[in-house]
Symmetry: D2
Subunit: 476 residues, 4 copies
């Protein structure tokens, strides 16, 4: 399971800040949201320079590359996770184009539910597409609206009437930096501020998560509201709320897995949400055990929450090799198998002859978890009680999470006791559905938990065959 | 001075041929037409895979990259020369897009004269541009025409009514490979054939020059006619000549400098044309000398022609370091200076105490030639007589040659005797204007010699300021 | 502070195992012991192939590189930490040479105390040195001994009479794999076994830490004894204990910081030793606080030990960006500053308005810790109580740890309360000297704690000026 | 066939010159002598920095790499050709070591005939070897001699009593730059001078060929004499001629093929020597033909000489793709086949319906020449008369030329008419043996033509099996 992107934008009127370097640092902080590709576009008085490529931020950007982007007063950045079949250079972002009114750069996190219909309509009008990204659909619609509107923000507002689904956008026009969040607010997007060195307007930044603000010394201001358009330009910031006020539904899996624990989303600490999930698990699925520990890194916080609630001592059961990439990133099954053996090792003194509670955030296909349970048993655990800090996945996500098809989801094929047996655990407990919304108890918005419940805040897209979606041009 | 591109395409119905590898070899042979970037797109039953990047063919394509393009039944390839301000990855070709009717790939050599007007019109209709290439204008117009036409070739034929200037195109649709040459035929484009291993249709190839056909073992068939559209598909080849029959004008500088001497263009051997130019020079500007030699590699053939006509012995006066790139490619003045000192060395035994005739193809700014004359004098030449196998450059080219602006052209600022003095030569002779057309005496078409005469086969574009043309988005 | 190396060796008589791939995986597991360079040498019936370079294991070895090492029956591997002034390719290991008796490869962890005298003696005899590594001294002495001895192991045994200091070696001759540990056993070295697929002898492996055995599915057998030579060849394994039985002294900092927590060294779990250190700290320096947390990753285990002993809740105060290298690796001060701001972020919900206990393994210069304390205060901690799981560093290490010179050690310049004030903490406690040896209470050997106590198991090298040591040949 | 190396050295007391950059440019000029690897070592008041790697000069050295070598007062450089089985990084040069008296760097062109015996002796004394280069033997012997001598030049002079065979060396000690040529002078080595910007001593340079002097603006002074040692230091230059005065024998193939035509070796222009060879061919093997042309680039000069003597018009029959490396460099047979088809193309207008004389420098295995003759016939030549500007190869070279073993030499297996038939030519003529020495008629030294005659200036090495020579340690 994987979220698709992280976005960032900065507007620094006084040009004291090095917008390219700050974008670089912010993308570093957002790297967990996408490791396939990244990019930065810098705007210098209307002229945009950009660079993007496949790879991690420190691999794509050298000191020289960063410097060659030049000094500017604005920048947008993007990190991208790509499903295997779209891992190519043409799909990197930000997407930077030229239209009637000048250049535009756009960074997008999310997924449109009416992408197929929109793309078909645009193609019927003679539009060519250079990528298979939804982002290119958005930029075409905005551009067409721009012809008959008096400003870019007005064009965006018009475009929002047509595009449906999940989108957190940062858009850069020659003179404005604009943040946009879809009406439900599926994906997070927040605003920060860096105090000006001289008097006058401060610099503004937008980022998918607050941890990116922290990394560049920006002060958190607020989250962009679902449906809101925030415009920053020379005159300062202003907001367009035409599309606000509908039923909100941030993806609850942002709290469970995607976001960094040090981020605060919609007023709720991600770390606290995970502690809460662990505590709920301890209450709902109590067990007599000697030690509780999490699968690094995604299960660690919930394990601590479980320990605090259950009073079972918290321990360190695994060491994760810090020089290895994350399992989910590695594409082939063979590479995945290999990676698991060298990525995680157990600590015998924590596990041997103990009854252990093992915590992880979710189970997708079950193959990785099965290997992990086996590892723990081989290390000498007397009992292995598995607790999962989310309910079972049984439904597709249409809003930017790359979930395996149902055939691959273990919870679509087995009930809990069957899964427990398959995994080789002594007991298995999932976070009950009714608690999912409660883990982020301070959050000021509603949740989308469609992947667990099958109930989505907006209509599902009509069923469309995969081949219909096939816009692929392969760029190696 | 530099030509902008080389194009290639191959259609191999029976799939016995490895179209990616053959494209690679053909681009190798066309590398002299563009060293900044290159690319290949392969079509496999409608699915297109491509790869392009800045760099020479052997640097951009490794064995792995080439293999990852997959097997296919068609391919197009491109090598590109880029003016300094457009040297970025986004402008690499072939350009591959997706439109209503599927994928399309296009490789383009030339320059449109109404690019500004077309681009403005398209932008007014809401079109976004991802590059600053004319190629993207062409692909948008064809795509729009395609909506109301019944075939891609019909759409191309319609588009040709709107695009003006120089263009030799190879276009790949999901099922067809199409070669197009503008009405004047400014840039060369020829067709070849590779015999099929089994019975049935042979494989067809298109290339900017016949040397590319030779390099892959293809048999030369004929040149594409000015204005012609040649379509290859399962049913074989056919031709659309709606736009044929107008006044033709192939760029005469293809014979003088751009093309490889082993190419035959419009029935005329490039090598022979250069021998002819040298012979004309000997007749028009005779001199009493001991030896004649050329500046490698562009002046060698004309020097041999001069020697044969004048009976002055042919010699080897220079050794060019084979591990150095060409002067014109190196961007900064400092690098250019450095390159000249290490790129060329003189052979003393040829030069010392001799009256020498030195031949080169053209003089642009005069700085390089001045250094070369100095080198020859330092080696001990008694006299240096300079002969240039083209007339003086005094006009801009609108058709794909990157000529310095007039302020930089030495022939716009000085007369021949002043130039001779500036260069430090004992005498200087240019190819007379009236002979330019005669050097390619076998060619079956007219010539464009506008850069020498100021007379162009089609109207010049209205004078437009450079800033108006400024569509740049910088991609580093 | 940084340990210098990790070593690995494998002998697989039946050739069922891919010794190159297993070396690669083992070096991955040992990567924390050295990130500057790495290398693998494979022996195939006496012919050795090797590859080494600057960089991390996954960067230096691609699939192709690994395959090109070929199949073999033995391999040795090495990861290296290099002080700034020796960061060059010539110093990479394993060192592979050819001598009278064939090829030899050697991987070395440690530092000789009589390197200067030995090198001078060898040079006086006409020896040339290609590197500035102690390893090359060792290989020269062994080679000279080999001339008058009947086996490589006898030569090694003779050489051990002359080389003094710390060395854990894995040596590969054309037919034998040999592990050697210096008489004190300063650096760890253990042996493992992989069961044979067919009957007959199992495969043997040597590694700096047991975590490398785990990563390749090898079973831990035992630690090499201080002074022991273990020989593996076709006939199986045998041991030479001529130099065993002296006063042992493993570096206690292996337990405190260098080794991976999942390693077991001399029968003592590294993780447990760190829990113990934390518990001692809690007993010796109790404090009234709301939460205790460690600086990731080196302070986490001790923080858990402190929490368990003190009953103060364990928390997660920091998130470390998993895509950033370790601070100690980054060379310049400027880069270090930059890294700290983006490498670590605080979790507000853990810290704000709390009295916190902050744990780290050591303080060297104090600059990093000062920044960390400031970070915690800025996050809103009411009090910051700092506890360090080692005593103050006040002495040099001569045995392979790269400690700053005394002028840079904060504990050489200030007492505890001065340091506390400098760091901006409310209180500061170090692990008392008398407890250092007790943290690894199960270890079956003595300790070297000279960096804390100034008492070393063997005589210090006579003071020699740095310039005398200057054998540098810079290889960039 | 391939020469093994090019060497360079520079001493610039006043440090006005950038010795690293000048080395880079000189190696560029010598690149034809070795394309496998290259390296530069810079000495700055005794401290040596170096960099070397596999690859061409512009690939191995970037601006940054060059700058990181620092400023210095001396440098040595090397380009290397490597037989396939020694193509590894460890064998790159200059070899830089540290010994009793400080650092030493050495660049070597040639091959020792007593390498095996010397290496065995050194190994018996306990010497370790890091490479399989003869160079390392030389450096070890010099170092051992240095212990009991009062200067490096004295040690070199002593070493020359023991090393036999071909060697042109440039050696750099902390304070001296020394050029050495073996007693026969098998390989060229010349000295140049760059005038000082201030008064005082000029800068001195040594290079394998004079073309390297030209490329850096140095004035040719003289060739190093066979057996001479030239020392440059603060006090100026001086010469040791202890080993001079023996029978000299420069490799005649330097004139025929190895050296650049613009070089002057032992007072003889290489270009002139090739013209002479062509003229001799015309006299010895006259033919009635329409045109004469050479195989680029090695046959061009001789073709011109043939034309001048025979009065048969000189033509251009081939175009060589300037973006392709040389055939001899490409290792596998498959790659060689591929390369030939795309590397060379014929010019039809020169060849068709003509009786042609085709000139090349030599025939080794005959496979390439056979393909070339076929190419010419396919282009329509009526007759193909092949003339070779050297006698048949029938003997091994022990002095640094990599000749195929006799089994591969076509002239060892067939007589001239058989070869002619095999190649598909109408006639074939080699340069007669008796003229070989005459082509370099101005040269001031004797020649080694052992590869043609079997008579060598010094005794052949005793026959040794290849396995005995096998010192290989493979470094990938």
């Amino acid at each position: 399971m994987q979220e698709k992107c992280g976005v960032f934008g900065i507007f620094s009127e006084d040009r004291v800040l090095d917008v390219a370097s700050l974008s670089y640092l912010a993308l570093y902080a957002l790297q967990h949201r996408g490791q396939e590709s990244c990019g930065i576009a810098v705007c210098n008085d209307g002229l945009m320079q950009y660079h993007s490529d496949l790879g991690l931020v420190p691999d794509v950007f050298s000191k020289e590359t960063l410097e060659s982007l030049g000094k500017g007063n604005m920048a947008v950045g993007h990190v991208r996770y790509a499903p295997m079949d779209q891992k190519n250079r043409a799909n990197t972002q930000p997407l930077v184009v030229r239209h009637k009114k000048g250049s535009m750069a756009i960074a997008h996190n999310g997924s449109l539910t009416n992408a197929y219909a929109l793309r078909e309509r645009l193609q019927n009008e003679g539009t060519v597409f250079h990528t298979s990204n939804d982002t290119e659909i958005i930029i075409n619609i905005i551009t067409k609206k721009r012809i008959n509107t008096s400003s870019i923000e007005e064009a965006i507002c018009e475009a929002m009437k047509e595009i449906e689904g999940a989108y957190s956008l940062v858009i850069m026009s020659p003179s404005k930096l604009i943040a946009v969040r879809d009406k439900c607010g599926f994906r997070p997007l927040c605003m920060g501020k860096i105090k000006s060195h001289k008097e006058g307007t401060p610099s503004y930044v937008f980022a998918s998560e607050s941890c990116a603000l922290d990394s560049i010394g920006a002060e958190y201001v607020r989250d962009i509201e679902p449906g809101e358009i925030v415009v920053i330009d020379k005159k300062g910031q202003r907001s367009i709320k035409t599309h606000c006020g509908q039923k909100s539904g941030i993806c609850v899996f942002e709290y469970i897995y995607f976001a960094r624990p040090d981020s605060v989303i919609e007023n709720m600490s991600v770390h606290e949400a995970r502690l809460n999930a662990g505590a709920f698990l301890a209450k709902e699925h109590p067990v007599d055990a000697d030690v509780v520990f999490g699968v690094p890194d995604s299960g660690l916080d919930a394990a601590l929450g479980f320990s605090r609630e259950s009073k079972i001592p918290y321990g360190v059961g695994f060491i994760k090799n810090r020089y290895i990439g994350r399992t989910f990133i590695q594409p082939t099954q063979e590479e995945r198998d290999k990676a698991v053996r060298i990525k995680l090792n157990t600590i015998e003194s924590t596990i041997k002859d103990k009854k252990v509670v093992l915590i992880d955030d979710s189970i997708v296909r079950g193959t990785t978890m099965r290997r992990i349970v086996r590892l723990v048993r081989e290390t000498g655990a007397k009992q292995v009680h598995l607790r999962i800090s989310s309910p079972p996945f049984i439904n597709p996500c249409y809003f930017g999470t790359d979930i395996s098809s149902r055939e691959n989801l273990i919870s679509c094929k087995m009930n809990t006791s069957q899964i427990c047996e398959y995994l080789g655990a002594d007991s298995l407990g999932f976070l009950p559905l009714e608690h999912v919304g409660k883990i982020a108890n301070n959050a000021k918005c509603g949740f989308c938990d469609g992947c667990f419940t099958g109930k989505y805040p907006i209509p599902e897209p009509e069923k469309i065959t995969k081949s219909k979606y096939d816009y692929k041009i392969g760029v190696i």
